[in-house]
Point group: C2
Chain length 532, copies 2
Amino acid sequence: MTASPTPKTPISIYDTTLRDGSQGEGVSFSLQDKLNIAVRLAEIGIEFVEGGYPLSNEKDVAFFEQIRKFDMGKTKVCAFGMTRRRSMKAEDDPGMKALVAAQTPCCTLVGKTWDYHVTEVLRATLDENLDMIGESGAFLAKHSELIYDAEHFFDGYRANPEYAIKTLRAAAMGGAKWLVLCDTNGGSLPEQIAEITRAAREGLADFDVEFGIHCHNDSELAVANSLASVDAGATQVQGTINGIGERCGNVDLIAIIANLSLKKPDYEVLGGRSLTSLTELSRFVYETANLQWRNNQPFVGQSAFAHKGGMHVHAINKAASTYEHIDPALVGNERRILVSELSGRSNIEAIAGKHNLADDKELMNQILAEVVRLENQGYQFESATASFDLLIKRVSGKFKPHFETIKYRIVAGDRDVENNVAFAEAIIKLKVGDTMWFDAAEGHGPVNALDAGLRKALTGAYPQLSEISLIDYKVRVVDSASGTAASIRVNIESTDGKETWGTIGVSDNIIEASWKALVDSVEYKLHKEAAG
Amino acid sequence: MTASPTPKTPISIYDTTLRDGSQGEGVSFSLQDKLNIAVRLAEIGIEFVEGGYPLSNEKDVAFFEQIRKFDMGKTKVCAFGMTRRRSMKAEDDPGMKALVAAQTPCCTLVGKTWDYHVTEVLRATLDENLDMIGESGAFLAKHSELIYDAEHFFDGYRANPEYAIKTLRAAAMGGAKWLVLCDTNGGSLPEQIAEITRAAREGLADFDVEFGIHCHNDSELAVANSLASVDAGATQVQGTINGIGERCGNVDLIAIIANLSLKKPDYEVLGGRSLTSLTELSRFVYETANLQWRNNQPFVGQSAFAHKGGMHVHAINKAASTYEHIDPALVGNERRILVSELSGRSNIEAIAGKHNLADDKELMNQILAEVVRLENQGYQFESATASFDLLIKRVSGKFKPHFETIKYRIVAGDRDVENNVAFAEAIIKLKVGDTMWFDAAEGHGPVNALDAGLRKALTGAYPQLSEISLIDYKVRVVDSASGTAASIRVNIESTDGKETWGTIGVSDNIIEASWKALVDSVEYKLHKEAAG
């Protein structure tokens, strides 16, 4: 007879990307964005999705109306609101009414813990605040599952522990099923979080409630603080995807889910599901929020499993798992070997391997020298792998250009009043074999016109170029200290529906940098087909 | 008689931005960059500055030659290298020779802890590796202070604790003054770091050595892990400014210094100096590394003390300190009140206050409506405060344009072979009062030409515009999912030597977006002078 394993403690994940996350600088979601994100969160099995603050704006009201049409599986949508106003019955309070009108299976009520905030911000007495918490909770608990978020709990507890516990007891008496301790200012340390979580549980020992933790990252400790609270007995973690949120952000649920699932064998998250869609979810939220990816983000960043140092890359080829804290496939990410002047021969060889060139030492030296020369101009081949493929072909004499640029020119200027567009036109002259092609195209802006003109001029010779479309276009000022005269690095991501590829161009002129990246994109597609 | 306070334990800060940091994706430092950063690190009082790996490249050799000419105060420059090769005497090993040739007051030697890596990567026996550590250390300790970095210490200890301790003992017998435990793969949890740090100290109790900690952020726990090791007895923390480094980066020394100094009263860092230059140091390193600032970076990010939510801003005006975990001035940062559709009236009022408009409710409504309208087009006024100033003036009828745009046009194209420039020309027609001004300018790229042309055309009417220069130019594709036809947001930072200001322009055409931001920059300057 074998001993049965200790059962894992389930930890609920509560996502507030759509409410607290939208407080982040530069973040604003449309209604459709919010619906799309909510559905994705349900798909990966997140238990609670906070959709918004229905009292605060019409967009959130519309969200709660529309989300009811979607199948959210076991995921509970939550509406967020504050305790009732000081001198008003709960049933008359506009915030309470808005919460009930949202018709969600769950409501999240936030209330004040910190005595100073009660008297100075709310202008209420300490007892009035307890009534506001208890009565608001009792009113809402008749309609839905109730989560109570104790704002400033850790600061409030340090200031007046007795009163802080009283606020939690008022919420529990009101019918809250969950008491969530918020480190609203993000200033606490893990040992403080653990100690105060334990104190809160002791103070509520006579109630049948569960505890949650809500951390902000102001001390760069949000993940550690949340895990410390879980180890002290919390069974719900509130946060946002990618840690977006006000100031330094909320805790990143990506890191919470991955750490709890992959590193803490005592706990279970997302019902034990696979995490292979975490990377995709992270990037989907960045794209929807129009935020740049955080390349070095733990677990899901593009660089999270990228290896650059020559010594490491050499060893990784021998024993990958001992150079990576987890298998990147577990979270849907992948290993990348980067090209760089620091990387030395073993990196170049790892990439050149697929070209069957790795045994040619002389060629490897030439490639390395070319990489260094271009890096000094501002090139970075790390995400421009198609341009790097072409570089290897060029250096090894295997590059056969499919066309020759004779000239290109763009004209652009102010808004054409009649058509209400700021005009941009490109004129392109190319040579394919002995044939000259001359064409022109209009576009939204000069780069769009160049792209259209280049492919239009080549369509006669290479009709398959109509399959290409640009999916991303990035501009980086390489030396931003010297203003508009600085070097410009353009990265383009293209797709033909089957594959996506990245190319790069660098120049002191954005038009020329864009042209180089566009030409590489087209050449990559044509070489790919010639090889296939 | 009062009890004297417990003396604080000094914690040494060891910076490896110039070596481990330069392994980060997208990071490459020139020799001059490295010298500039090293001098800054010495200025703020960092004890150890690792300059590079002299065996690996010529740039690092040159760094050690040149840094000797600078006054580094009490800061010790360190050269980094690996243990000697397997079958070679330390004094004959090229790496050892390169370290001695660097003539630094301190050398950092890295060696293998993990038995698997010894046999599979080094292809040495376990005893050979101990000899390599001990003999390399003994050789170097004759020349300089010796720090021993135990690579993969935590993974190695978990695999074979006895052998891991033996490697540290070999280094201590070799004369290492510091034994630094490295979580090379970044996969450990704080409780593991604390426990293994204590085990290492116990295993070396008979040696007079100090311990250090070197963490990577792969689990988003690098700060917590480093602090846990300090609480377990480590007295040196290795990391990089802004946490730059391979994969997810090294631990961010900014957060380490701020947390130890401001939140952990038992410890002293940087000899107790003020931290008011931390924010400037962080930004200096980003600029030098040509990396984008991490806006939500704890302590020093632009958003770290930025308040957007209307409820918060209302309360912050009452009691700032209870909404911020530290006073931003302590780390040289500042509070910012953001303009946003979410922020509501109290944010707009806080900013409009300086215009003495806050009492005009009707006007406040109009400003808010205009902000929402423009935000829907892709504007963000958060860092474009000069454009927001002009917006308030426009809505309140106080904006008097200093000129009228009649037309602008740019022509740009391929490289002029004769002069080796990709040409760009701007033609500008403006009206000032009743006078028409028509001018043209060349530039490096279309935006540079537009900027030159605009100011050239206005110089006759407003000679003071010659004081302006652009210090930064940023392009953001607002909806990157649709390629080059997406909306383009241009942010420009301008200066007249006395003040710097940010302006913004949005359009589907980069030329038009740039024009709008340039026009706002010039109008802001002219309005400022008219008011002054």
